[in-house]
Amino acid sequence: MIPARLHWPIGAVVVVVAALLPIVMSDFTVSQILTRSLILGIAAASLIFLASLGGWVSLAQIGLYGVAGFAVGNLAQADGGVKVFAMDMWLAALLAIIVTVVIGLIIGVVASRSEGIYFLMITLAFGVIIRLLFEKATDLSGFGGINQIIQPEVLGSAQLQPERIYWVCLVISVLVYLGVRYFARTPFGLAFQGIRDNAARMKALGYNVTLIRTIAFGIGAFVAALAGVLNVWWNTQISPGTIDIRPVIFLLMIAIIGGLYRIEGAWVGALIYVILDNRLRSIDLVGERVATALGIIFLLIVLLSPGGVMGILESLSSRWRRSDEPDQPAGDGDGTAAAVVAGD
């Protein structure tokens, strides 16, 4: 593991470099690779947040992301969906996030009583229900989706000024990352991790396990909603296909490729996925079989390291450190220790 004192400098360098990339990169790269990676990264962060701190693998995150996107499409001015509101873009975004969190809390009430495979199935079911709802309710989802969703004026045009939405996504990503790291060290965050490790003990200590889990699921929905809003600002359209089963699986793959137990893994996994998704198509052998190729690469990464790419980096750096430093007690107290313990 990288020494704790280097975390801040390394993080700062990564963010500064990322912020400067639009200067040297083409508009296409900034929009289709970098911005898309950041948005998917935030969505994956909502999944990894629940997985690393709560021990929950949720398949409802894409559904919640879709709720936020459709809510923006319906509340703001757009082609398709409900037209009566046409409200201010910022207000639409705020309401969309609130709606998503409320739906997340409702799902959380049901899901928080379950664990493991049951939790996975319940969240998958909710994800599918949300998709079917939007598919059938064409009043809400338009015919063939909602298009030309307007963006806040400061963002300009996604085509002409792709760096603006990119920077917004970068700032939100940093805030989500820092927020999750901070949350893990608060009483609530530690309680959530305690429940992950032993719910019975938490009850014996006087904690309301169901309440804590439900609210934590709501926080996960909030992060997914941020990604959902950014997605429609960037993409200007959303359709039921956006939240189909394929994106659900790809988001899970992103989280696993990055490393399910480290929040950084969300963006690492998203970047790898987006680059592969873009580049594999141009290889003759792959062509239309992108999903198959992605699946094989996914398998290889999982076989190599159950902790994903972050797990590989971690074991490499600890091997390198072990050669010149005596053994340190594991963990730098960032709440991702379950992986360290389980992975060894």
């Binding site: 009483p187 530690l190 309680a191 200590l205 006087g206 309301n208 309440l211 007690p329 313990v341």
Partner: protein, 266 residues
């Protein structure tokens, strides 16, 4: 079913009002009557052991006292308050904490964070999503408790990598963190090596005398050294009560437990 066997005389602690009072407590699981007609009074500062062979109903009785599930008959009074149907988490603020037979710790957190979560459990503010000035004091308190249970050297280690003995020590630390008046110790010495048992016994003897201890223990050495009063259970009932020396000399106890070696060898 209810006969003179359950009407054993309450020995000590009858002068002061008991902090734990069970009356006619029974618990049925389907067709199995795990505990029946138990009367028990435990006074402030008392050290009491509950002994009995496997299946005697000790753990069921503990779970009823802790609030894991309510009794099917009878009543439980804690610190003068009827808590018969109160869930476990509502008994913690009253001053009741417990340890578990199989350690229930947070393997993915450090020793200090385990204790911190336990301290916050009683302090309140479970849903506080930000850090504030209180945390310093709470973390400090967590580390002090770690010290008290002999874990000062491993406070920043992940619990998952601790030895079994250290985990048992932490198990007691978790119960102490609640600032309890009464601790239920469910086989604290389970699975410990001889030297570790001696250390544990010393630690239990060194606890603040104002804390009341009620322990289930298979290991007679630990139980009869720590306890001043012993309650003997068999088939879900209390069959004998007395001081450790009385219990050692009791023929019934010998037959039931000591003599026959009912899984009490380790």
């Amino acid at each position: 079913m209810t006969d003179e066997m359950s009407q054993t005389v309450t020995s000590a602690a009858d002068s002061v009002a008991p902090i734990l009072r069970l009356r006619g407590v029974g618990r049925r699981f389907g067709g199995v009557q795990a505990v029946r007609g138990v009367d028990l009074d435990v006074g402030l500062g008392e050290r009491r052991a509950v002994l009995g062979p496997n299946g005697a109903g000790k753990t069921t009785l503990f779970n009823v006292i802790a609030g894991e599930f309510p009794p099917t008959e009878g009543s439980v009074e804690l610190f003068g308050e009827d808590v018969t149907n109160k869930p476990a988490r509502d008994r913690v603020p009253l001053g009741l904490t417990r340890t578990f037979q199989i350690s229930r710790l947070f393997a993915g957190l450090t020793v200090a964070d385990n204790l911190y979560v336990a301290v916050v459990g009683v302090d309140g503010g479970h849903l506080r999503p930000f850090r504030n000035g209180r945390d310093r004091a709470l973390h400090q308190r967590a580390r002090e408790i770690g010290d008290r249970v002999g874990l000062a050297g491993v406070l920043d280690r992940m619990v998952g990598v601790l030895s079994h003995g250290e985990q048992r020590q932490l198990e007691i630390g978790m119960a102490l963190a609640g600032d309890p008046k009464l601790i239920l110790l469910d086989e604290p010495a389970a699975g410990l090596a001889r030297a570790e048992r001696v250390k544990l016994t010393e630690m239990l003897l060194g606890l603040d005398r104002s804390i009341t201890l009620l322990l289930i223990e298979h290991d007679m050495d630990v139980a009869l050294t720590v306890a001043e009063h012993v309650t003997m259970m068999h088939d879900g009932r209390v069959v004998a009560e007395g001081s450790p020396s009385e219990i050692r000399g009791n023929q019934l106890v010998h037959d039931l437990y000591l003599g026959k070696g009912h899984g009490n060898d380790e």
